[in-house]
């Protein structure tokens, strides 16, 4: 062991892509947040099982807005991923463009989701279904907003020319959070919009 480690080879200095502590820190954050959503969805299924079919609202959640909205969120992830790929090759413009598209699509998602909320015939205090619907989608919305703040910070930093092909650890750290928010949405979407049709 000492033989290998004592060789005096050059080591990278500072926050370097996925070797940065921040990257691992972000993964722990994602792990704990994923657990949070597991418990949120557990609460939904637990209550749903107690009361059965009649517990769901008469008018089941519709795909009219939610499907295009889901597609939009997924596209935003693709855009951010594309931007991240750019900065790895030193293409700052690609990063700025990718982030900007991702942010716009994310904001659009929030807008559509607000419309969706306003069209509901129940509120958070109508019954446990309403409480769960608004709490779970509200939790997700809060994560989207935080994700957007992160993306905007990355965009600002990219525009300020903070990143190059070697120093851009904040970009993968921030964008993996955004991807996580997308994956969570798929679970929330499946739970609230798809499973009612399966039972």
């Amino acid at each position: 062991m000492s033989d290998t480690v004592l060789t005096n080879r050059p080591l990278p200095v500072g926050s370097v892509d996925r070797r940065a502590a921040g990257w691992w820190g972000m993964l722990t954050l994602i792990l704990t947040e994923a657990a949070l959503f597991v418990y949120l969805l557990f609460s939904y299924y637990y209550i749903a099982l107690q009361y059965g079919r009649s517990w769901l609202p008469n008018e089941l959640p519709s795909f009219r807005l939610s499907v295009p909205n889901t597609a939009m969120l997924l596209l935003s992830s693709v855009a951010v991923w594309w931007g991240e790929r750019g900065i790895k090759r030193g293409r700052r413009g690609q990063l700025v463009l990718g982030l900007a598209i991702g942010i716009l699509l994310g904001i659009a998602f929030v807008g559509v989701q607000l419309i969706e909320w306003s069209e509901k015939t129940f509120t958070i205090s109508t019954s446990s279904y309403g409480s769960l619907y608004f709490t779970v989608t509200g939790f997700h919305m809060a994560h989207v907003v935080v994700g957007l703040i992160i993306l905007i910070a990355l965009l600002v930093w990219a525009i300020l020319n903070y990143f190059d092909s070697k120093r851009h650890a904040p970009v993968p750290i921030g964008s993996v959070y955004w991807h996580f928010v997308d994956v969570v949405w798929l679970c929330v979407f499946t739970t609230f919009y798809v499973t009612p049709y399966l039972s």
């Binding site: 000492s2 050059p10 080591l11 500072g14 070797r19 722990t28 954050l29 205090s125 910070a153």
Partner: protein, 645 residues
């Protein structure tokens, strides 16, 4: 240097703690401000002191309760006072003492045991302490104004919901627990990443001290479990304040949702507050037995196995709620199986004593008696795993006795032993052994006088959480004995505190390695300098300081000769499994951001409590702003390019 500041070959040199380079390191690493410090040793000490303050508060609450229960039909306390006392006692001991004290030791010890200069996230470390302090003050503020928790630490709904509990009591508790959850979570993330990355070269995972295994494992557990309780309390707060219906039947919610969410968290939590303590014993006991721990690998694996199984037994707290036969059988079986890894640890300790040459220091007395206490707490747990028996035991004093053998026996005894073991390292001074032995015997006797008969109180059918009891139920004498024992225990604690203050004031100088310990922390001066290690050592075995005698591996650890990192605040990151050098980490300076963000969060929580929605919004904005400033990329930390125009 090639590649500008992007990469560098660190020098390898032999350096003492009095070399000019070490002096330079001291100026680089020295804490500049009490409120801004990010030094893990300072934070660890603060954690320990704060947790002990809460231990004393919880102890005083217990003594008052024991006065009330010393005789039947006592009217010293009103029911409401008693209920707030026992709830606050539970909250204090379980949440504000038992886990933070271990975080304190882990904070102090992690970098020293791992051969690192600091934790992976020093500012986050400071943040987790400040939030812990804020949460503790927040929850005690409720208690101080007569709005402490009054529904037990488990806080079952619907008694916790507004119709039955209209005061602010539950809002204090719910918000305080969410706040504390933030502290626990960021602390856990920090431990995980520190073990993952911040190890001396050669410190592969099969060379980690067991205490590291313990804290690392439970930190993973915390990341997965804490969201359950934070969510449970958030939903409770929403039910109480916003009008949601998660727990109330009238709104198609269900009170058992609370119990599931709570116990999914709270059973793993039991392991969270014992596994690192068991780790401290596994590391400390062998030093006083003058041999390596027997069965290192088995003990390390059993630590992980306990945590994993710990997620599969939460339903055993709910055997009486009316569950299907199959579910009950499964969780009963799992609860039996979880004792097997504990048996591994017990026999490893016994074998270590048996095949070693024990030295009866005070720390040894605590660690050795810990084994017996551990077994008593373990077998009473084993008894409650048998469902039909548990349906008699549950919610009687039998379980109270069990939980105290777990919490005092497994946590407090280990912690007190750890204090005697590591106090010289933390302060540079020795504790007086003679007074320490007196304190030990009072604590040992008082604890067992108080809690051993309590098993019988349980078998005689005394229910938990009753503010008084009728005479002639067979509980009078037993309760009096318990009360007497609890005061003997308190005297022991008093002696312990005297011991500590005396040691701080006039303890003998400790020297770097008073116990001839094997691990890296004993290679530094006592107390360690702000930068911990003059050079980053290179590790070749589990016991770097015992290699002369043990001849464990092919190579020799290199303690005095190693990587010199002196271009500012720097530390070394290594690869996860093998511990190969991987990266030179630029470490942050002292920062007020953790304290400022904590104040903003606390402002937000106080506002939520009082329904000052706009101020809560201001608090939230303050948090976002503070975090943004905190995370703004800095060239000094190597987070942004230097080729800016």
């Amino acid at each position: 240097m090639a590649g500008g500041s992007y990469e560098r070959s660190p020098r390898i040199e032999t350096l003492g703690y009095d070399s000019p380079t070490a002096e330079m390191l001291e100026t680089i690493w020295k804490t500049k401000s009490w409120f801004a410090t990010v030094d893990h040793k300072e934070i660890g000490r603060r954690y320990i002191v704060t947790a002990f303050v809460f231990l004393i508060l919880g102890g005083i609450e217990a003594l008052v309760m024991r006065l009330q229960l010393a005789r039947p039909e006592s009217a010293l306390l009103t029911p409401e006072q008693y209920n707030e006392l026992f709830s606050t006692h539970g909250m204090t001991m379980i949440f504000l003492y038992a886990s933070p004290i271990l975080s304190g030791f882990s904070n102090f010890l992690f970098p020293l045991l791992l051969g690192s200069r600091d934790m992976a996230f020093p500012r986050l470390n400071a943040f987790s302490y400040w939030v812990y302090l804020a949460a503790g003050i927040f929850m005690y503020a409720g208690f101080a104004i007569g709005a402490g928790p009054n529904d037990g630490w488990f806080n079952y709904t619907p008694y916790a919901s507004r119709p039955f509990n209209p005061g602010l009591n539950m809002d204090f508790y719910a918000l305080g627990m969410i706040l504390l959850g933030i502290s626990t979570t960021v602390g856990a993330a920090n431990f995980v990443v520190t073990v993952w990355r911040m190890r001396a070269p050669g410190m592969s995972i099969n060379r980690l001290p067991i205490m590291i295994w313990g804290t690392f494992t439970v930190s993973f557990g915390n990341l997965l479990a804490v969201p359950a309780v934070s969510l449970a309390f958030l939903l409770l707060w929403l039910d109480r304040n916003i009008g949601t219906h998660f727990y109330d039947i009238a709104g198609e919610g269900h009170p058992l949702l609370w119990q599931h969410l709570f116990w999914i968290f709270a059973h793993p939590w039991v392991y969270v507050i014992v596994l690192p303590a068991m780790g401290m014993v596994s590391d400390g006991l062998p030093v006083f037995c003058r041999r390596p721990l027997v069965g290192y690998t088995a003990v390390a694996l059993s630590t992980v196995a306990t945590m994993v199984l710990g997620f599969g037994v939460w339903l055993h707290h709910m055997f009486a709620v009316g569950l299907p036969f199959m579910a009950v059988s499964f969780f009963s079986g799992a609860s039996f199986v979880i004792t097997i890894p504990s048996a591994v640890a017990v026999f490893a300790w016994v074998a270590t004593i048996w095949t070693g040459r024990p030295v009866f220091t005070v720390a040894f007395l605590y660690f050795a008696s810990f084994i017996a206490m551990f077994v008593i707490g373990g077998v009473s747990g084993f008894m409650t795993a048998a469902v039909p028996a548990d349906l008699q035991f549950t919610d009687t004093y039998f379980v109270v006795a069990h939980i105290h053998y777990v919490l005092i026996g497994i946590n407090v005894f280990a912690v007190l032993g750890a204090v005697y073991f590591w106090f010289p390292k933390m302060t540079g001074k020795m504790l007086d052994e003679k007074l320490g032995r007196w304190a030990f015997w009072f604590i040992f006797a008082g604890f067992n006088i108080a809690f051993l008969p309590m098993h019988l109180t349980g078998l005689m059918g005394m229910p938990r959480r009753i503010y008084t009891y009728p005479a002639h139920f067979g509980w009078d004498a037993l309760n009096l004995i318990t009360s007497i024992g609890s005061f003997i225990l308190a005297v022991g604690f008093l002696l312990f505190l005297v011991n500590v203050f005396q040691g701080l004031r006039s303890g003998r100088p400790a020297g770097p390695n008073p116990w001839q310990g094997p691990t890296l922390e004993w290679s530094t001066p006592s107390p360690p300098p702000s930068y911990n290690f003059a050079v980053i050592p290179i590790i070749a075995s589990r016991h770097p300081l015992w290699e002369d005698r043990l001849q464990e591996g092919p190579g020799q650890s290199s303690i005095r000769r190693g990587f010199v990192l002196d271009h500012g605040k720097e530390a070394l990151a290594s690869t996860t499994l093998d511990g190969e050098p991987d990266l030179i980490v630029k470490m942050p300076e002292d920062s007020y951001a953790p304290l400022v963000v904590t104040l903003a969060i606390t402002l937000g929580f106080v506002s939520l409590l009082l329904h000052w929605w706009w101020i809560a919004g201001a608090g939230l904005s303050g948090v976002l702003l503070g975090v943004l400033v905190w995370l703004w990329p800095e060239p000094r930390l190597g987070q942004m390019t230097e080729r800016r125009p």
